[in-house]
Symmetry: C2
Subunit: 437 residues, 2 copies
């Protein structure tokens, strides 16, 4: 892998940028291209990858070429670079529809190049592939397919292999239908001039989670959202069916045809696999959010570590205030106001780990006299369990003239976060009846 | 409170049953009525409350009357019982719309009765009022209002006070619009013959959470769902606007009017208050679900406690298998297959607490000889920190003839989960150089 050259066409923004960064970290030699050379060069420099002004040149000199441009441009780019791809090289695209790019690959890409239309089901905000879905839609026999699958599985991604047609059909529901409905809900709320913030106060926690998922969809890159609607061949059929059903259901309600309404809802519910699990999962999701607010509220006045869920940055200080919207943290240097939704409170172990990494540890040796029948390892373990102690081990056991009859001298080397903990260890050992030498 | 008599009209099922159970536990004298006497009597007996065959009789003899019948019957029931309500008594209803019952109360209920149209924003699956929203829409000056508010706040509910009109307007979005759109999504998926279980495999975690929230709405009592649509005066306007917007958006997409589409989405997004928080919260909800699956997977082969999230029942055993759908738990007596979505894994402390409650503890006294300069409390603390030990305290400190010079005898009383831990404590103390007497 380490020597493979990868070109990411459109690698300066969004998912392409994420892929370039990720592959760089994995040891590939990465080149990116961009429509905006000045910006592209800046991004490449920051990521430590090569920049190339020309898609064809980038493609020519690479073992793997990944097309990560807007859906509407994907076919054009495939056509542009196809004749210049190396023998035995691999071409992938990562757009949200698969039939169109797959057909373009079939048509324009020579047989001596391997092709793999791909749809990563995640956006550039994720921090690892663990648990993420990647859909592969191979259209030719390929020697690379298994290598790609193994690579992704090693990174703990969930890999789905299917056809471009099946992919687009599933996406006509998973993306086209849900995005369309959610955008129409959001637009209706806007036209009604309902204040969303106020509505959240009136509502149950599940409504808040619903609004959050709606906001998530509506806040996506609107160019991408448009393409997902416009480029999927099944899109129009699905949207029209949805509108027809909405009209029919509205008529049923207006005509007070309760039994008919119930019949339709029952049929729809029956198709939604396991309702009980759906309830359980969404209840648990809500409970987890409440649980965290409770934990934060309990920690007011105490030292906490708050980790930003996207940047990974940790802020440590005294927690001053907690509300569902904001938390206020006071550290030695400053007072910070952070969004509650974007931070996670570290547990004791995580906070300790962060402190060790940030401030290092102090090591001390202490020699103590215990009865000779003692077990030095038990003593070391007891020291290790003391608050603030990170590790403890025996480095010497000594019996001799200076040591009273029936006694033994033990030297323990222990590591603490701060030297103030030395006193705790000393008190602990004295409390056990030991004499400090 | 303890002496107040409460009648729950329609207290044998759904939310009414939940309210009756809850108020019984709070110390009220509860009577329920039901349309189905045989069933109602059975439920009343099981809950330990009174049953009354007649709404009027139940109302006549109560200080507080809560109407919890389907929306369509609420006005009828209010009219039926109104002339029979006691002077100074309080009448509430708990339906999902407020204008209609509020008007009925104004019209039929005498002025010497207090009235309070109420909408609890939760269903009968919740286990406590903590964090739940209750909307009160008072229409007359009332001496009881503050009492009700204080009672609910004591139970940690979030109380909203507003007018029936404002309530119904907010619900036309919070309930009418979202339910309507979600039902239409579910029905579209069904008509397209898409297998939801398969679609989940293709999709990102956020899609799974979206499907879960859709399933949640579609799986509600369809009679209630219908009434929420049909009885809200604003309902038709909102549904029609939603359908018009869907038609318009579909045309925009079909005509490839990208800029217009983006403009509409941007406007809708702007109205959705804080998008960044919405992303953070939904990401955290997903992360919490993943986190739990990871914790479960790590615990395979080990002893775990799994708590059912609704019944609260705890199952303890060796975890044999974990999948996103099921876990298999082997206990002494049997092998259980449980839905992953409906259980929560207990942490160490919770599991220990459960074991203490279930099996009790064993107490032991141990006398040991330590150097006289020791601190018995430090020793007790070290014993308490040993695995399996629940508590430890010093019950005797003794110096005397039988004790060697410079030494002291300490008797520690400690409590363990199982007698096997006695040996651990003995080994610990011997490891510290103590002699067991």
């Amino acid at each position: 892998m380490k020597n493979k050259k990868v070109a990411v066409i459109g690698g300066s923004r969004g998912l392409g940028k994420w892929i370039a960064k990720f592959l760089k970290k994995e040891g590939f030699k990465v080149t990116i291209t961009s429509r905006d050379h000045e910006y592209g060069r800046k991004v490449a420099k920051k990521m430590g990858v090569k920049y190339c002004e020309n898609n064809i040149d980038a493609a020519k000199s690479s073992d793997i070429v990944i097309v990560s441009v807007p859906i509407a441009s994907t076919v054009k780019v495939i056509k542009e670079i196809a004749p210049h791809l190396r023998k035995g090289s691999l071409l992938l695209d990562v757009t949200s529809i698969k039939e169109k790019p797959a057909k373009a690959m079939e048509k324009y890409v020579p047989n001596y190049v391997e092709v793999l239309p791909t749809h990563p089901m995640f956006g550039p905000r994720i921090t690892s592939l663990d648990g993420q879905v990647v859909i592969l839609t191979p259209i030719r026999k390929s020697k690379c397919l298994n290598k790609v699958i193994n690579f992704l599985k090693e990174k703990k991604a969930r890999v789905i292999v299917t056809t471009p047609k099946k992919h687009d059909k599933m996406m006509s529901v998973i993306q086209v239908l849900t995005h369309f409905a959610y955008i129409c809900i959001a637009s209706t709320i806007e036209k009604l001039k309902i204040n969303i913030k106020e509505s959240r106060k009136f509502a149950s926690p599940i409504y808040n989670l619903m609004v959050d998922t709606i906001a998530r969809i509506v806040a996506q890159n609107p160019h991408l959202t448009f393409s997902i609607q416009h480029e999927n061949k099944e899109g129009e059929k699905v949207r029209k069916l949805f509108i027809d059903i909405a009209k029919k259901m509205n008529n049923i309600i207006e005509n007070n045809e309760k039994e008919k309404f119930i019949e339709e809802v029952r049929k729809a519910a029956k198709n939604l696999d396991d309702i009980e699990s759906a309830l359980g999962r969404s209840d648990k999701a809500i409970a987890a959010l409440n649980e965290e607010i409770k934990k934060l509220k309990k920690s007011v006045g105490k030292e906490v570590g708050l980790k930003h869920i996207y940047s990974g940055k940790v802020h440590v200080g005294i927690l001053k205030e907690v509300s569902p919207d904001f938390v206020v943290l006071k550290s030695r240097k400053m007072t910070l106001k952070l969004k509650t939704s974007n931070i996670r409170i570290l547990n004791k172990k995580e906070l300790q780990k962060w402190k060790i990494k940030k401030f290092g540890t102090k090591k001390f040796d202490i020699s103590v006299i215990f009865p000779e029948k003692c077990d030095p390892n038990v003593i070391a373990k007891v020291v290790e369990n003391e608050e603030g102690v990170i590790s403890a081990k025996i480095i010497d056991v000594y019996k001799g003239e200076q040591i009273p009859q029936g006694m033994v001298s033990i030297t323990i080397r222990f590591e603490v976060l701060d030297k103030k903990y030395y006193q705790n260890v000393k008190k602990l050992l004295e409390g056990l009846g030991a004499k400090i030498r």
